[in-house]
Each structure stands twice: as C-alpha cells, then as structure tokens.
C-alpha cells in the first residue's frame, strides 16, 4: 500500500485557521490500512481540530466524509453535495488523492492532512516498511523476491557493499542488509548462480525523471 503519516497538529491547525468550515475527507484504501487517513482517523482529527478551535473561541465547522478512494474521479464526484457548504477541503488521502480532489474542485483550497511516505507492506501490526520504489523494471524474480532498489541503502544491483555487517546495513543496525537477505534467499532456493551473474548498469528511465509517468491501456482507454 501507499503509506502516509498524519501531519503534525500544529501544521494542520495553522493550515485550517483562516477558514470557518472545512470538508475533512478520508480514504478507505491505503491510508485506512496504515491507520493514517481512514474513517477512524477522520473522526479523531475532526474532534481534535474542533476542540482546539472551540478553545480559541473561533469554532470550526467540520464535515466528515470518507470516500472509497480519492484517486478515482468517480468517487471524488461524491463530494459535490458538500463542497459548496465549505470554505476549504482537508484531505487525508495520499498525494494522489489530494491532487485528484484539487483537480475536480479547482475553485476550492485543498490541503493535505498527511505526508505521503512510501510503498510498503506491514511487517507486523502497526509497523509498515518500504518495499517498492516503482523503478518500473522489476527484478524481484532474480533477487529472490527482495528489492535491491527499495531495500538497499545504496541501490546496489551487485551488492553487498563493504559496510554490510552481521547481515545489517552500515547506516542503521536495525536495517537488514538487502543483499544479505538476497544471498540467503537465493541460497535457500538453490539459485546461488544467479548471485554471480553481474547485473548490468540500470536504465533508470522506467523509474521516472521524464515527467509524470503514465500507463495507457489501449483496450480500455476512452
């Protein structure tokens, strides 16, 4: 999922201060899974903001809506009935959702309530770790299912580097050395000969850097 974390309260307070009423929009997908911007988090943030502004003597009206997701225009359309009643929108979705809402309601100020972090998965309850950086040319099949781009601090394709110590990365002893993991996995799979293949210099273009990437499904695009 795309992970995110709620912005610090003082930043959110500063951002909504100029407004008398806002639409606080959550998202039922990724940010729900990482407990950053789902229906629960919308409720908690709304209550906290309301109390803060009540205290300041400038009560803030908050409408709470949680969409199925904010990255599809069909769902964002569901905000139409609420939009004219508010001065601004505070979206708890990832950057994709915030932009889609801003695009649809281009006359309303739209603010992000979370900082979008990374694509990752759950290591255990309450802990999510980065797993993918969308490099556009997946090599997981030859690295035993461990990504050298997202999980190696130096994005080495022929690691480990000399700083790998006891299976941990030199940058932080709590971080597993990705290439140690790859070696161990390939060994388990009986595929160590894959390790000795030198992976050639990567073409970074599929990973971005030439403007926003797009996927067009010819069979589906209207």
């Amino acid at each position: 999922m795309i992970t995110a974390e709620r912005k610090p309260m003082d930043e959110l307070i500063r951002c909504v201060r100029p407004y008398r009423s806002i639409l606080l929009v959550g998202c039922n997908e990724c940010v729900t899974v990482c407990a950053a911007g789902g229906r629960k988090e919308v409720g908690v943030l709304a209550s906290a903001l309301k109390m803060h502004f009540m205290k300041e003597g400038k009560p803030l009206e908050i409408q709470e809506v949680t969409l199925e997701r904010q990255c599809d225009p069909e769902y964002v359309e569901e905000l139409v009935p609420n939009i004219d009643q508010v001065d601004a929108v505070l979206s708890m979705a990832c950057g994709c959702g915030v932009q889609e809402v801003a695009r649809r309601f281009h006359n309303k100020p739209v603010f992000p309530a979370v900082n979008t972090k990374f694509m990752g998965s759950a290591e255990r309850q309450g802990v999510w770790a980065e797993r993918c950086q969308g490099c556009g040319d997946c090599v997981l099949g030859i690295t035993g299912g461990i990504c050298p781009v997202a999980r190696c601090s130096k994005k080495l394709f022929n690691g480990p580097c000399g700083g790998s110590t006891n299976g941990k990365c030199e940058v932080d002893p709590s971080i597993d050395c990705a290439w140690q993991l790859i070696w161990d996995r390939l060994k388990t799979l009986g595929l160590l000969e894959l390790y000795e293949e030198n992976l050639p210099a990567k073409d970074w273009r599929p990973g971005g850097g030439m403007g926003p990437r797009r996927i067009i499904r010819e069979d589906m695009a209207t």
Binding site: K154, K155, N158, S164, T165, E170, W183, L199, A201
Partner: protein, 312 residues
C-alpha cells in the same frame, strides 16, 4: 600488458607491489597534498588518493591525483559511485587519463549518513561492479557505457576493494568472483589483523582460481595504541581485530605501544609474504603516514623498482 600502468608492470613482473594512501585535505591547500605524498616517494609503487572518504567533502581525488602526477609520483584514482552519475564518472576518467593517471579503484562509497552532509542525495547511478565493467569496456572495447565509440580510449588498470572479514565468508569469495567477472585487475583488501581468517578467505579464493585472475594486495594498517585497536575492533564495521592483538598491545606500557604496533604490522607482512596469491601490500597508515617508510624498510621491501613516468 593491458595498460601503461606502473603498478601493472610491477605486478606482472612477479615482484611484490606496495601501495599506500594519501587522503586529500578538507580545503584547497595544494601543499597539504604535496607534503603528505612526499613522505612516500621511493617507498611505494602507487598512492591511492581517496574520494570524499567517509562521505566527508575533501579536495577531489582527481585534482589531488594531478598534483601527485606533477610531483612525479604514481597516483591511483579512487572513484566512488555515491557522488557521480555515469556521465560524470566517464568524463572524469577521460580527464584523469589525459593527465597521465592510469590506475584507478572502483568503489561504492560510504553512506552520506557518516559524513558531514547527511542531508545529501546519493547518486549510485551505477554500482562498483558496474563501474568496473564500464571502465573495462572503455579500455578494451573503446566504447562509452551508452555504446558510442570513444575517441582516445583511456587505458586504465582497474582495481577494487575486498573485505575478507565480513560474514558470511562464502559470500565474500563470491563477491570477489563477481568483480573478477566484471574485469577487475587488482584488489586491495581491508586491513588484516586476523590472519587465520584471511588465510581461510585466500583458500576459498584459490579454490576458485581467482588468485590467478586478479592481483591481490593485502591491506595493512599499523596499530598506534591499544585505544586504536579497541576502537577499530568495536566501532568500525567490517573490521576484525582478534582479542590477542588487543591483549598484546595492552600488555605493553603506553609509550611502547606504538612500537609494538609496528612490530605486529611487520610480523603480519612476513606471514603474508608466504600466502599464495598475495601479490603485494596496501599500507594504510591512517594519521601515521610518516611510518610508511620505516615499515617498508624494516619489512625488507626496499629498494622499490623506482619506476616513475620519467624512468620507465
């Protein structure tokens, strides 16, 4: 001979080669480079010039190499993949060769986390093994990494680093095999204190015939004090300092520890001379460069072939 490199000449002749290190200053004073390098004249065959070592900004390796070349010494250009993309690296390699620098070392580089600019973005457009491959193709295929022909190909003698002490051991031998496959000509190892472990690594290396495909220079760093030994044992990743070494240094009064450290260093060199596959030594006398001449002399490694660009 693949190149005109002095280091290649010496290694190819079967003699033991000796290299040392010169870390450029954290400023633009060229004299600091000259003073440090001058201490090594006549005692070593090549001088590594480090590249923003430990991710701290220093005068560039390339410019310090040029200063050494102007002094008539033989610099070895170190290049890390952390700070430059493939365009910049190829560009610098062409420039280095244009200045007569014919030997280089391909490394990944310490993470910026350790240095004075932890906020900087690392590049790592290519990794150290891809760099070895790239330099080899520039030399032998006379082509840029992108495929186009080079007008005046740089003939670099290509080196890399190896750490026989990090675990697991079999991974370290496999990694050397990868570097050999990529085209590396010589290797400088991490400094050696655990001779048993090093000999075990060499056994693995010889089992695969790698010692005949690459020249291995054993890394040597003399201990200045028991404090240094303890620090390197506990605080430096990938370093293996056996308890006996620490014990030996602590068993000697403080003012005698430096001498004991040199003694240990010389004993290490003697033992390594007899290890099949060791073709020379890489002396890294960190903050103690002035001891290199003494070590080389007492280790019976003088005179050096005295090959310079002028008298080859």
């Amino acid at each position: 001979m693949k190149t005109g490199s002095i280091l290649e000449k010496i290694l190819a002749s079967g003699d033991l080669a000796i290299t040392s290190e010169c870390g450029p200053p954290r400023g633009s004073d060229a004299n600091k480079v000259r003073e440090k390098a001058e201490m090594l004249r006549g005692y070593v065959d090549g001088v590594n010039v480090t590249d923003n070592q430990t991710a701290m900004v220093r005068m560039s390796s390339l410019s310090a190499c040029i200063l050494l070349k102007q002094m008539g010494l033989n610099p070895i250009l170190q290049m890390v993949t952390r700070d430059r993309n493939r365009l910049a690296m190829q560009s610098d390699i062409l420039g280095a060769y244009a200045h007569g620098i014919e030997t280089m070392l391909c490394l990944s580089g310490d993470h910026p986390h350790f240095g004075d600019h932890p906020m900087a973005a690392s590049v790592h457009d290519i990794d150290s093994i891809q760099l070895i491959q790239m330099v080899k193709d520039m030399r032998d295929e006379e082509k840029f990494q992108g495929g186009e022909k080079i007008d005046g190909a740089p003939k670099m003698f290509i080196g890399a680093a190896a750490n026989p002490f990090a675990d697991p051991f079999e991974l370290r031998v496999a990694r050397l095999a990868k570097k050999v496959k990529a085209g590396v000509d010589f290797i400088q190892t991490q400094c050696i204190y655990n001779l048993d472990k090093f000999e075990k690594w060499m056994e693995g290396v010889r089992d695969r015939g790698l010692h005949e495909k690459v020249y291995i220079l054993a890394g040597i760093t003399p201990m200045k004090s028991v404090g240094m030994a303890r620090y390197m044992k506990n605080k430096v990743p990938g370093m293996d300092v056996p308890d006996e070494v620490v014990k030996r240094l602590s068993g000697v009064p403080k003012d005698k520890q430096a001498d004991e450290g040199i003694k240990i260093c010389l004993e290490t060199i003697e033992r390594l001379k007899n290890v099949e596959g060791v073709r020379g030594f890489h002396l890294m006398a960190i903050e103690w460069e002035q001891k290199v001449p003494e070590i080389v002399e007492r280790a019976g490694l003088l005179p050096r072939p005295g090959l310079t660009a002028e008298n080859q």
